[in-house]
Amino acid sequence: MLLLQLLLQGLQTGALYALTAAGFALIFGATRIFHFAHGSAFTLAGYTFLLASGAGLPWWAGAAGGIAVATLFGIGMERLVYRPIQRHEGSFFTVFVAAFGVAVVVQNLVGMLAGRGFASVDTPLSRASEVLPEVFLAPVFWIALGVAAMLFAALSAFLGRHPAGVALRALAQNPDLIRTYGLSSSRLSVLAFALGSALAAPAAILAAMTSGLNEAIGHHAMLISIAATIVGGVGSLRGAALAGLMLGVAESMALAVVDTQWAEGVSFLVLFAFILFRPSGFFGVVQTR
């Protein structure tokens, strides 16, 4: 029964990981920008929700606020940081350092303004009840799975059918051709950042309701996103989402053997193994770098 409990918990965590990682993969796939500050969108959205709940606002206002803040953050990063850098150079190193600087600033600002250490929102939804003998589930479990499934259905419909979604996929494959067809690659990359960052918000809000947040959670969200993107195969949104789900389950199942502080280590070991033995991931094509 312990294993079943861990599996279910893993699915819940994994659904959140899948959302965060899919946002990262969407941005990286479309714009080829390794968005190292993606974890900051997660932190900002989660803390917006926390503060709104603390102020007594209804949950939907907090959630909308969180999504809005994450989306604005993504757009701001594209406009104010990545765009000017790519205008003059845009080497990987420059982009990485700039994004990393932003992540450091966000982490410390949040720590200063909202306090350090773990904080969470306690709602009736996060109270667990016994559904099977010795298996406890909170309603938030179903919400996490439902939200993730719904967003993925919407996302694949958007990328598959909507003209802007098709254009995003085209941007990933050939940015020059996009310009030839008269589409604005700069507007599309803003769209990618807005969508990708917004995807991290529901995950952050649900995390705030379950495991809680701290100001450094962005690093963790970042590591998971990168790990899922690499394990799933760079360029594959589905791969990243599946890998995120898998990492969540693996981290949770590992708790049967090791203590909580090592859970993150499982994700890291998987990432390390993939980097050493199969850098192109599950669904990726071998990259010629």
Partner: protein, 291 residues
């Protein structure tokens, strides 16, 4: 006042070593490690254990620390051989986070969160010595070594590998050996700095070897100027005088000085990358690799 200045000078020298060795990795080998504090920590624990269990000999502690950090640098060299750019940063980020957990949990060796206390004063040939001269000479040694390495055949091979790995390999350069050696050298240097740090403070715990520390060292290198000899040292001086400078500002509460400091260098990193990617000392006209 003299004690204060001596303390600051020792810390600057130690972080100067860290920044110079990380600069060697980033600027010359193109290996963007965000795990430098791991090897700083390994060296510090190794040096502290030598002083606690055997003799507090500064030279011995430094050598053991450099050997331990250099040997375990294989954990960083392996992914560096397989992947570059973003992928490697991801691997080193993971390594840093794992190592911090390991340092906090491996209580018999590291003392856990409580750390190792009561490290005896360092001696040299049985005579008690100050850490400052040792740190300054170690810094000078590292600077001379990096300057010589980067001008010599090894440094040129490294730069060739950084700029065009396949081309360097086609010319018969042993890419794997060169990268492994570069990583081992830089990590051994960080280990040496760790031993000096442990002997200087006579106390170490995991808080000095976390992600934040790696970021601080990286900020020193970047703000000073990657790929230059003096840039990282200048970056170290600037960033280390920041906390004492901030302490004079009355409107910042003492508990927030650390956070304000991190915000300042996070902002500095981002703004520099937007407006002056070569850093304060760096030469703007010189082309840099696009890894």
């Amino acid at each position: 006042m003299i004690a204060y200045a001596a303390n600051l000078a020792t810390i600057v020298a130690i972080f100067g070593i860290l920044a110079a060795t990380l600069n060697f990795l980033i600027g010359f080998a193109g290996i963007f490690s965000v795990a430098h504090a791991v090897f700083f920590g390994l060296g510090a624990y190794a040096g502290a254990q030598v002083a606690l269990l055997l003799v507090p000999d500064a030279l011995l502690a430094c050598l053991v620390a450099a050997a331990v950090a250099g040997g375990l640098s294989l954990a960083l060299a392996l992914p560096a051989l397989r992947v570059r750019g973003e992928y490697f940063v991801a691997a080193s980020l993971g390594l840093q986070m794992m190592a911090a957990t390991l340092f906090a949990e491996a209580k018999p060796v590291t003392g856990g969160i409580g750390g190792l206390v009561g490290i005896p004063r360092p001696t040299l040939l049985g005579v008690e010595v100050d850490v400052l001269p040792a740190a300054l000479s170690a810094l000078a040694l590292i600077l001379v070594l990096t300057a010589r390495l980067q001008r010599g055949a090894f440094g040129r091979s490294l730069r060739a590998i950084r700029d065009a790995e396949s081309a360097a390999e086609a010319l018969g350069k042993n890419v794997a050996a060169a990268k492994t050696l570069a990583v081992a050298f830089a990590c051994a240097g960080a280990g040496l700095a760790g031993a000096l740090f442990a002997l200087h403070l006579s106390f170490v715990n995991v808080e000095s070897f976390t992600m934040d520390q790696s970021v601080l060292v990286m900020a020193m290198v970047i703000i000073g100027g990657t790929g230059t000899l003096w840039g990282p040292l200048i970056g170290a001086v600037i960033l280390l005088s920041l906390p004492s400078g901030l302490a004079f500002l009355p409107f910042i509460p003492a508990t927030e000085v650390g956070a304000v400091q991190q915000i300042i260098y996070g902002l500095a990193m981002t703004l520099l990358m937007i407006f002056r990617p070569a850093g304060l000392v760096g030469d703007l006209a010189k082309g840099r690799s696009t890894a």
